[in-house]
């Protein structure tokens, strides 16, 4: 019987990959190095000819350290299956193999056929392995994406934001991007995904810390929804409105002038007491345009984070060919988790990434006219403070 034989083989292989390192106390890095030697030889097709084949990072977009960490996260889930995934030559895929396939699929955005050919497996195996990885990651890696809870963490975030351009007590930067899809336009049910730039897209809204780490995301809404509506439908909005988030310590700018915690976002978002947007319109006063400059520089981290996300995990960068719209948000989430893991593990690959802020090319700036009175006062206060006009 195939599966039984396969499982035996799998267990042997697993033993080889994990058993040695764990039992002898050798680090798993060494194990992965052995695995990589073998795996790199198995790669065929154009990928094997590429210049950076010897370079692990060029294939998977992560360092070996991060790769091993990811393997350790999903190991149990990937190996829990009794009938293992097989390569075309009948070998069972180890955890490393599976993680490699999934990371390659997510990072390169290449077709299933291409990846299958490169790694010597059926395209359906590539799809299954990737999906299993996504499922495992969203469960095991979700702790890498959370709103900061400890006082130390919050202080650090605020001080880092203040160091960018002086905005005090800022907790995050919010931005929205579109994940484009190619859907058949003859089907009227797809109209809901048709956005204002005439693309089919899914929205990803992210709140980012100064290290470009995603701290809160909302995704899955169709592209035809505007930024403001996505925000209003989010759990973050509800928590903030209830006073359960961004309710930390206020800071005193001058006597009788306090500033609460807030996040910054562009003009597509409403101006709220906890969400500061730039001044709109032309002919702004010097202090207001100065505020806008500082504001722009501060919220740039969100744009950069989204640009890097798409740059690094190319599966969500281009136009996806008829994706499953229920799976796509989960893939996006896992890409965000991987993005955060790279930051959390201080992976050096991020230093080699170009710092772009273009994540939504072709999309015009949305404008939201909603202004809250309190927020208006707060923004003026910040503007005066930043231009040094606030009385001490």
């Amino acid at each position: 019987m195939g599966p039984v034989r396969g499982s035996k083989r799998k267990r042997k292989l697993e033993k080889k990959v994990f058993g040695d390192g764990e039992s002898t106390g050798v680090t798993s890095e060494q194990g992965s190095a052995d695995w990589w030697d073998d795996f790199s030889r198995r790669i065929t097709g154009p990928l094997s000819l590429s210049n950076g084949l010897d370079k692990f990072e060029s294939v998977f977009k992560v360092s070996r350290k991060t790769f091993n960490y990811i393997c350790s996260l999903v190991k149990d889930d990937l190996m829990a299956k009794s009938s293992p995934f097989m390569s075309t030559n009948g070998k069972a895929l180890s955890v490393y193999d599976q993680v490699a396939v999934a990371l390659r699929r997510l990072s390169s955005g290449e077709s299933l056929v291409n990846i299958g050919e490169s790694f010597g497996m059926n395209q359906s195996t590539v799809a299954h392995v990737t999906w299993r990885f996504v499922e495992a990651m969203e469960e095991r890696g979700i702790h890498h994406l959370r709103w900061p809870s400890t006082e130390t963490e919050m202080k650090e975030i605020k001080s880092k934001f203040e160091r960018i351009r002086g905005l005090p007590n800022c907790r995050g930067a919010i931005d929205t991007t579109h994940i484009m899809m190619c859907l058949p336009s003859v089907d009227p049910s797809n109209n809901i995904w048709f956005d204002r730039e005439r693309n089919h897209s899914m929205i990803l809204q992210a709140i980012v810390d100064p290290d470009m780490r995603f701290r809160d995301i909302v995704t899955g809404w169709p592209g035809s929804m505007n930024d403001s509506s996505v925000l209003r439908s989010s759990g973050f909005f509800k928590l903030c409105e209830k006073g359960e988030r961004l309710n930390g310590q206020k800071i005193v700018l001058s006597e009788g002038s306090e500033v609460r915690e807030y996040i910054v976002g562009d003009s597509g978002f409403p101006l709220l007491p906890w969400l500061i947007t730039p001044y709109q319109g032309k002919d702004l006063s010097a202090s207001k345009s100065e505020f806008n400059k500082r504001h722009f520089a501060t919220r740039m981290v969100a744009q950069r984070a989204l640009a890097r996300l798409k740059e690094m995990w190319k599966i969500i960068q281009g136009v996806m060919w008829r994706p499953d719209k229920h799976k796509l948000p989960r893939i996006i989430l896992v890409c965000c988790l991987l993005h955060n893991i790279i930051i959390d593990l201080e992976d050096e690959v991020q230093d080699e990434m170009p710092l772009s802020h273009q994540h939504d090319s072709g999309y015009r700036q949305q404008m939201c006219g909603t202004v809250d009175k309190k927020a208006f006062i707060l923004r003026d206060k910040l503007s005066r403070y930043l231009s040094g006009r606030l009385p001490p």
């Binding site: 999906w131 709103w147 809901i192 809404w221 169709p222 439908s233």
Partner: protein, 352 residues
């Protein structure tokens, strides 16, 4: 309009008098006849005697409740010929399409089916008159738009209709209250436009890391800038997950249940729309909570609806409805599961 003309020509003074009396109009004056008819242009156009005749036939022929209660009448009818065949078929049809309510889809489906059934009935004046045997208001509804009756005599259908309008009204009101800023437009429009069929509809999976359940399925209804969002019920995930595991041949791991609970559930497709809760984009978190409560409350109804439906389809027209009903109940469970499994299987096959 058709009705008003024919009414003028056909109906005698007796009918008119009775109608007027029932409506509190003076019997003698006929000056304001048109004025009287205009607000209710779709009055029944059948002669009263015929109506009386057919009202006698109503219980045996057309009232599905009665048929279910007295299945003995069916074998008797089979002894007659084509006329009786029609009655059997109509009773079967009325059983088939009198299936309670739950989801919008199911209701729409039922209405569509009801329309078909009514069309068949229309060829037989007896049954047609049944529908106009109720109050004036009801019969207006029946003939409205020149469509041959929406079978309002079916108690279930009319209840479903009333319930639906309730469903729509409540969130509309909420929306107006909750609306702020740009959502004002959205909520107002929702309050005015109650017909969901005009909305384009999409099922989406939303990931929101700040929500209590960070992965949820929602139904979106959109018409222009008007958005309506409904939460979908989330109780079937663990079952689906287990099924997927079974497909893979993976044995239930120890602590697997725990794991599944930890995982925020992603509901399977089947029968989920029934228990969805409607809310607006601008509504607060409280509504989500309410929605869940409502969803869980509706779950048994949903199940029973599925259970009821299967036996009726699988039963031959000649068999009485009450026979072996429990067997059907057992049989239909794997059927639905099978569908469910295959759908999840298909989804698995999709490329990620």
């Amino acid at each position: 309009m058709l009705c008003s003309i024919s009414t003028n020509n056909k109906s005698g003074s007796t009918w008119l008098d009775r109608l007027r009396t029932s409506k509190g109009f003076p019997v003698q004056t006929d000056v304001d006849l048109d004025h009287f008819l205009n607000p209710n242009p779709n009055l029944p156009n059948s002669p009263p005697q015929q109506q009386e005749e057919q009202e006698e036939d109503i219980p045996s022929a057309c009232n599905p409740v009665n048929i279910e209660k007295s299945p003995k009448s069916l074998p008797e009818m089979t002894t007659k010929k084509s006329d009786d065949w029609f009655e059997i078929m109509s009773s079967v049809l009325s059983e088939l399409f009198n299936m309670g309510d739950a989801s919008d889809i199911a209701r729409i489906h039922a209405l569509e089916q009801g329309r078909k059934r009514s069309f068949r009935k229309q060829s037989n004046p007896k049954i047609c008159l049944l529908s106009s045997s109720g109050s004036v208001g009801e019969s207006c509804l029946v003939v409205a738009g020149g469509v041959p009756a929406l079978s309002p005599s079916s108690a279930d259908n009319s209840i479903a209709e009333a319930k639906r309008s309730d469903d729509r009204l409540v969130p509309g009101k909420q929306g107006v209250a909750d609306s702020a800023g740009p959502e004002e437009e959205i909520s107002q429009a929702v309050a005015v436009d109650l017909d969901l069929s005009a909305f384009s509809r999409a099922e989406v999976t939303i990931i929101d890391t700040s929500a209590p359940v960070w992965k949820s399925e929602k139904l979106i209804f959109r018409k222009g800038s008007v958005w309506k969002i409904r939460d979908k019920k989330q109780s079937h995930t663990s079952r689906r997950k287990r099924k997927v595991d079974q497909l893979d041949g993976r044995p239930a791991a120890p602590g697997g249940e725990e794991k599944q609970q930890k995982r925020s559930p992603l509901p399977s497709k089947a029968g989920k729309e029934a228990a969805c809760d409607e809310r607006l984009i601008s509504s607060n978190g409280g509504s989500t909570h309410n929605g869940k409560g409502k969803a869980s409350k509706e779950a048994p109804d949903n199940l029973s609806q599925i259970l009821e439906r299967r036996p009726q389809f699988s039963r031959s027209p000649r068999k009485p409805a009450t026979k072996d009903s429990s067997v059907f109940l057992i049989q239909c469970i794997p059927t639905t599961r099978k569908n469910d499994t295959s759908s999840s299987k298909n989804r698995l096959k999709d490329k990620p």
